[in-house]
């Protein structure tokens, strides 16, 4: 990991993208990093697109602007891919992580000219199998920690265990589900492509829309 890692989250109001961004700042702080976690508020209503940000650094952070050239982008809701230019400014050597149930053939064409790595996670599946309720925070957190390399899996597991144990002191069953969601998401986050197989998916998309290759 370099000196400064910048992460931009795209979600919809009420899905917990802001909370996830703050959780990431929390866990990075717990291993001695300098952090910033902050939301950008638009209209305050459920379902409206919202953006949140993380900066994680080995040195103290003074800048207070939004992030325009992130190293990583996290998309908590794949319907945003149609509405928001999620890869805007995203560094090619970075990556985008998308929460989706869709196949890569449907996802990759939506990312326009982005040449970097693309990962997906089916957070709903992870949540339903581990917690029985759909709260995408935990799976998204684990997946972004993994793809960004902010910390090793074992360190992450230990830190989250301590933090969740404290948070759910009186709800041990919730603690177990959350931990399971983290671990399962770590395993299930999938690399679905980068510049090379983007061409493939463009051909697929063109064929699918009847325009030929």
């Amino acid at each position: 990991m370099g000196q400064l890692t910048e992460i931009r989250w795209h979600g919809r109001g009420g899905q917990g993208a802001k909370t996830a961004a703050l959780l990431l700042a929390d866990v990075a702080f717990s291993i001695g990093k300098y952090v910033q976690g902050f939301p950008e508020y638009g209209p305050e209503r459920m379902g409206a697109p919202i953006t949140a940000y993380d900066r994680i650094s080995d040195v103290s952070i003074r800048v207070h602007s939004n992030i325009y050239e992130p190293d990583f982008v996290v998309v908590v809701d794949d319907t945003l891919l149609h509405d928001v230019d999620v890869t805007s400014g995203l560094k090619e050597e970075g990556a985008i992580l998308i929460n989706t149930e869709k196949e890569k053939e449907e996802i990759l064409p939506l990312l326009k000219d982005y040449q970097g790595a693309v990962y997906t996670i089916n957070a709903k599946k992870v949540c339903m199998e581990t917690m029985g309720k759909y709260f995408p925070n935990m799976p998204m957190l684990a997946a972004v920690v993994k793809i960004s390399g902010v910390m090793e899996q074992e360190v992450f597991r230990k830190e989250m265990e301590a933090s969740l144990q404290h948070k759910f002191e009186k709800k041990p069953e919730v603690f177990a589900g959350n931990m399971q969601a983290l671990l399962q998401a770590w395993e299930e986050v999938t690399f679905i492509g980068s510049a090379a197989n983007r061409q493939m998916s463009r051909i697929y998309a063109a064929q699918a829309s009847g325009l030929g290759a």
Binding site: A25, D26, Y34, G37, Y41, R62, H64, N66
Partner: protein, 395 residues
């Protein structure tokens, strides 16, 4: 040992409030300061504070209750933002002129319209002539440190004025970042007990608060109040130097960042200063002699000191996160320009309005401002150049 934590600006100020544990807090919630009374209420419910929390029906009532409590002899605080401060307006003057050292945690937010919840300094800048001391923060650490210093400044016998501790709404209030906290006992020892000399509930001394003054007394009262604000400057410095001994962190009326040999300077308030510092470091690598003057204390206004700190600069950009609709630039630009004139400064001055309604201010924009200053210093302002201009405006 200092405590390493990560907190939002609101969490940090609420934590300072808990450590100080004042006697009374009347408050009415408004975004983005709502968390302050919320956190304090939780601390009280959890038995960590014994402050008397008064839920009121408006900010006018919040300030009125604060005035009553403080006049009675209780250490009092409140919190607000934007329209909330505007609704307190009448009572802000009453608090200041009755010499009541109330502490107000202000989370800066735009005033309507358009209706907007984001950062702007127009709320506190509008109240700049109400007689309150105003101290601004660059980040959550400064917001915390400033609040801990607030009562020692406000309650000082040479001062006895209310104090506004300001932080940038959302940018600081809702941004979580690293912070170093002091231990409770250090804070309590530093702030001390509040022992006012005169107060309404003092049994053996009858007094009136807020009486009518005929013209043969009123002006003297105003002059005495003005003297208190003049005195506040030295008290702020003295309190900062004691605070340094317990925190290790230095504060003054302003902070000069790489300013000593700078040809070009940005003058700003609040979170924009951190962003400007990053731009300065990048430009210094390229050999550009650029610096920042961060105004921490706006009331009292340290005009002479600021002008002195800028004396070697050829061109200066004064940034206001506030439009005062004077058709002549924002309040910081107006007051600092006057101070520069008094100091016989020959520097070119750009008055820049930025960041309105939460518009982002970036490193790139700071670099652009420095480039403009260099251009103006070399070629003069030019007949068509606007010395009062906007940055970050969509064309």
């Amino acid at each position: 040992m200092a405590i390493k934590e990560r907190m939002s600006g609101n969490e940090a100020v609420a934590y300072a409030m808990k450590q100080i544990n004042p006697d009374v807090m009347p408050a009415f919630p408004i975004t983005p300061s709502t968390e302050l009374p919320q956190f304090v209420s939780s601390y009280i419910a959890d038995g960590e504070m014994d402050t008397e929390f008064i839920p009121v029906e408006s900010e006018h009532s919040a300030m009125s209750a604060a005035i009553g409590a403080e006049a009675a002899g209780a250490r009092t605080m409140t919190a607000t933002s934007s329209a909330g401060l505007a609704l307190m307006w009448e009572m802000l003057y009453v608090a200041a002129s009755n010499r009541l050292p109330i502490a107000l945690a202000l989370v800066n937010r735009a005033l309507s319209g358009p209706l907007n919840i984001n950062c702007e300094h127009s709320d506190s800048m509008g109240a700049r002539d109400s007689g309150w001391i105003q101290i601004y923060a660059e980040d959550n650490q400064e917001a915390y440190d400033n609040f801990i210093q607030a009562y020692r400044i406000a309650e000082h016998p040479d001062v006895m004025l209310p104090i506004m501790i300001c932080q940038d709404g959302f940018i600081i209030s809702h941004g979580v970042s690293n912070i170093t906290l002091l231990e409770d006992e250090k804070v309590k020892a530093f702030v001390g007990e509040y022992c006012p000399k005169h107060y309404l509930l003092k049994a053996d001394e009858a007094m009136a608060v807020g009486p009518y003054a005929v013209s043969c007394y009123g002006m003297e009262a105003k002059r005495a109040q003005a003297q208190a604000m003049i005195n506040a400057k030295q008290v702020i410095l003295d309190v900062a130097s004691v605070y340094k001994t317990i925190s290790g962190r230095s504060y003054g009326l302003f902070e000069a960042y790489r300013l000593e040999d700078a040809d070009y300077a940005i003058v700003a308030i609040g979170s924009a200063c951190g962003t400007t510092k990053d731009a300065i470091d990048a430009l210094r690598v390229q050999g550009k002699k650029v610096g920042l003057l961060k105004v921490r204390v706006f009331r009292p206004f340290p005009g002479k000191e600021l002008a002195e700190a800028l004396k070697n600069c050829q061109a200066i950009a004064i940034l206001d996160r506030c439009e005062s609709f004077s058709a002549n630039g924002g309040p910081l630009a107006a007051e600092l320009s006057a101070a520069l004139f008094q100091a016989k400064s020959q520097a070119e001055v750009l008055k820049i309005v930025y960041g309105l309604n939460g518009r982002d201010y970036t490193v790139t924009e700071a670099e652009q401002i420095f480039a403009d200053l260099e251009e103006i210093a070399e070629n003069g302002m030019g007949a068509d150049a606007a010395e009062y201009r906007y940055i970050g405006l969509r064309e």
